[in-house]
Amino acid sequence: MSEVQQTDLLIVGAGPAGLSAAATISADRDFRVMVIDEFPEPGGRLLGQFHEERNHSWWIGKIVAADLIIQNTLAGVMIQCGVSVYGLELLPDGWRVLTSKGDIRTKYLLLATGAAEVPMPISGWTLPGVMSIGAAQVMANVHQVKPGERGYIVGVNVLSLAIAKELVVAGIEIEGIALPPDDLFAMEETNPVAAIELLTRLSDAAPAPWMRWGGKLAQKMKLSRLIASCFPKKGVKVWDLPLQLRTALVSIQGVDQVESVIVADVTRSGEIIEGSQREIEVDFVAIAGGLYPLAELAALAGCPFLYVSELGGNIPVHNERLKTTLPNLYVAGNITGVEGAQVAMAQGRLAAHSISYDAGWFACEEEPKLLDAIAEVKEVRRSAMIQFHPEIDSARKRIYELFEHWM
């Protein structure tokens, strides 16, 4: 048998939240901290992200990750990659975590497992060459191999536009970003009107000025229907991307892998215009259905859940200090709701202060730090480039209220 490892704090997930939590807590305290992740290298979704800031400088996730990893290494944090967690169990004095490399016993457990992608089933979507948009991002930006030479993206949302832009920067041809077919598996953004409403919520991150200014106006005056009617069938270029809000990708073709897609024009309410179908040659298709919090471990642990659509799905109930209803179990990052990496990092720092506070040393010193960390999360959320959902604050309040009720 391999030896059971012991630690004071185990963090599951070496992404923005997990690495920030580890760096913050270990910088402050003499406390054994271990971070594990099933990906071969630490950084999580930071590794694949970059975007242009308001001042036109580039925010590069890989560099942010490298910095966090150095901070952790200097502080003596053990980061173990290629370790999968397959179960966990509450003990009288902490948690036993079952991993592919043996058991780990820990007093405190922080789940920072991030998010997973929502799929969109399309005829032919099991063919090799069809992948989630996140997979295309990981291939191009983390491993630096093109997901293909020419691709189609299906699904119009914050994630698909941001990643499409990254793919173009990497020299990959994007033939179009189109809507999924409007069927019983379609999410809210499937018709042109809904897609425009969604894009106009992006505020500063909206990919074109007409969306930023026109968008806000459209929201106020409910002009989305008009914009959808006027939207050219050929699509328009935004951020150099061929955005096709009047086109649906109806089928993916190929014998043993992707060879082409069939697209069709749709009416403003999403109905396919018969006779408009056409075949376009591509060698990959990326499906962008959005993200949902990956909370399997919280479910196994026995956390109560609340379905919150603004946050992407079922959320383990927690309070503003990121404590769950179970002893010594904390959550941070996208497991608490889908938002950007910078919010996840601030949440990681908050979880670290919350755990230090609960561990009971120097509580009078910890209290103000904890309150500052709570305020920082709100500030980072408020100023984020990409607003995932306009109602995040009120949605989060519902979870905190349920926590109080539960306890």
């Binding site: 071969p40 590069i60 090799p128 992948m131 291939m139 491993h143 191999v145 093109k146 030479e149 920067v169």
Partner: protein, 111 residues
Amino acid sequence: MRKSLRINHHPLLGEMDKKVISFTYNGEKLQGLEGEPIAVALLANHIRILRRHEESGSARGLYCGIGHCMECRVELLGKGQVRACLTPLKEGMEIREGSRLPNAITGRVDS
């Protein structure tokens, strides 16, 4: 020979600094970078078919890229089934595509 899908001069992310090594896939000798996931090395060589569905035999490839979907299960000699998107490539690895199961196991009756 088709052009590799590797991005050699990424304008923002720089170059990959990894050693070139050899491995085989379905008996064919290929090259990849040490430590990159098996699925990445195969994709760079334009290989997308990683598995055949156990029952129907339909071709499958990389889907989620981060270990969630299990679609990229390949046979790694000495290890059995592994997720190609998470398993780092090592010199001399012998890899085969995940195969369709025989009818005797699945109980399938081909029509």
